[in-house]
């Protein structure tokens, strides 16, 4: 376990020194800019726009970091031959893969929490400025849905990192990038695959589409922005179900990466 943590910590340090956390500044800048642009519209609308925009930006930045860092996660160490230093020590290959995964997951956790906090402050400020203090004060759950949405976004990152890790363990960063992005897009529209399949007459093709639907990650499940922004509730069952789905799916991906990585030769 200590080995895994050492690898994870080093992965986090690498991301930090690669100035990944600068994305927070970009995020803050975008949010402040958008607040200025939409400052003239009504308070009610304004809040919704800020929240919606903020949640979208967190998701977008998180996905970009997951894909870009995830696809280089293992490959970079092989390419730069740092694996020789690692595996000349008593380190098992699975410990390395799990450590890399946890390291990037932790990086994104820090990043997402920080972006969430920035957004929270902006929303809080706009709520208060528009005199909606009473609703803010009495509506205990008002912010909860908002935090739940950020949590769901983070769960999605966990899966995307897993996808990138799988591809990263056997192909080049460019190919992994393409594959991961491709699977991400399919995942975001996985519901449409089923709808499409229902309209297909050819049974073989329909069967194939249904299999694809079952295999690809159902990433649209993680998008609860509408509930968070326009009112609606995200019930505990959904949270539990979605968390379980993300954890199991990501675990399978990490497991798959380990199987591939065990066979890798470091020439």
């Amino acid at each position: 376990m200590k080995t895994i943590l050492a690898v994870a910590y080093n992965t986090f340090v690498e991301a930090k020194r690669d100035r990944v956390l600068y994305s927070l500044l970009l995020f803050a800048f975008l949010m402040i800019l958008s607040s200025l642009i939409f400052a003239s519209i009504s308070a009610e609308q304004y809040n919704k726009i800020v929240k919606d925009l903020g949640l979208t930006a967190i998701s977008l930045i998180g996905i970009v970091i997951s894909v870009f860092l995830g696809t280089g996660l293992v490959h970079k160490e092989i390419d730069k031959k740092t694996v020789y230093n690692i595996f000349s020590k008593p380190v098992r290959r699975y410990e390395f893969v799990v450590g890399k995964y946890l390291g990037l997951s932790f990086t994104l956790l820090v990043n997402t929490v920080a972006m969430g906090f920035i957004l929270f402050l902006i929303v809080l400020y706009t709520e208060l400025r528009h005199g909606d203090f009473i609703r803010f004060y009495y509506g205990g759950n008002y912010f909860m849905e908002f935090f739940k949405a950020i949590y769901f976004e983070y769960l999605e990152f966990l899966i995307v990192i897993g996808i990138a890790l799988v591809f990263s363990s056997f192909t080049t960063p460019i190919m992994s990038l393409l594959f991961t992005f491709f699977l991400f897009v399919i995942g975001r529209f996985s519901g449409d695959i089923l709808i499409f399949a229902e309209g297909v007459k050819n049974r073989v093709l329909r069967g194939l589409l249904e299999v694809i639907y079952r295999v690809v990650p159902h990433l649209e499940k993680f998008d609860v922005r509408r509930e968070a922004v326009y009112g609606g509730s995200i019930n505990p069952e959904l949270i539990l179900y979605t968390t379980a789905y993300a954890v199991i799916y990501a675990s399978v991906l990490v497991f798959l990466s380990i199987i591939i990585f065990e066979k890798r030769e470091f020439r």
């Binding site: 080093n10 740092t82 694996v83 230093n85 595996f87 020590k89 030769e265 020439r267």
Partner: protein, 313 residues
Amino acid sequence: MIVLKVDNLIKDYPTGFLRKKVRVLKGVSFFVNRGEIFGFVGPNGAGKTTTFKAVLGFVGITGGSVSIMGRPAGDVSVKKHIGYLPENPYFYDYLTGEELLRYMGQLHGINGKALLKRIDELLEKVNMTHARKVQLRKYSKGMLQRIGIAQALINDPEFLILDEPMSGLDPIGQREIRELILEERKKGKTIILSSHILSDVETMCDRVGVIIGGRVVRTGELGELLEDIHTDYEMLLRDTDLEVVDRLGDLKVKVEKRAGFIVLRFDEDIKSRVIEVVSSLGADIVSLYPLRKSLEGLFVKEMGQNSGGEQKR
């Protein structure tokens, strides 16, 4: 007691789109005794690094066997007792020297004060204390090599595998590392090092294995290997004695002019004949000295007999 035994090791690498197999190691055999420094020499691409990679389990083996401290190649439990310096070491350039050593120590399960103490010792040992807080991206090649050796020693290993430990170092650095390696042997450690700087191997190693074209062509103690290697001699004459050169005629002598002298170079077999001819002409012999009997001679001879190195992997 044998620490490393490599027996008829074969390694194929698939190459190209069709995964055509290329045999890089064609039956490598040698062993390393406890407490000795074993020099693994050969031209670039001969298979030195690939042999190390197979021993450490970085690549699988196609045939033959490896036993390292009684365990098979790549065995994780054995690595607790091993230190490895890769060829042209590349480390995480965003880490400082100290952080790298800490990370490498943690992978060995060393933590806390023991680790900090070890890091201090090692930085001192490789003369890098001044650069402990500097990121590796700012290190010179020589500095990287030093920190590479420090990380290989972090667990105070029983068995050191050093791939080209002298590369990138200036003469002073080379001497320091040589002393460090000899010091480890004095402590009873076993060391295998690869090199193509033959003088290093000559001055440090107890036994040598010569690898050429994926095969170990000779192994043994240095003295043994050099026994049947001929020594060249060099004779210096004043360059006024130019007519000597014409008289040497049928003798196999290399002639060259150097800073006011004529230099004759020849094999020891014809030494007396050359002296005879030169003296008979009354030429002024400034000096006559043997060129050191060396591994280089062995190397050249074996290279001639075997068909050279293969493509570098």
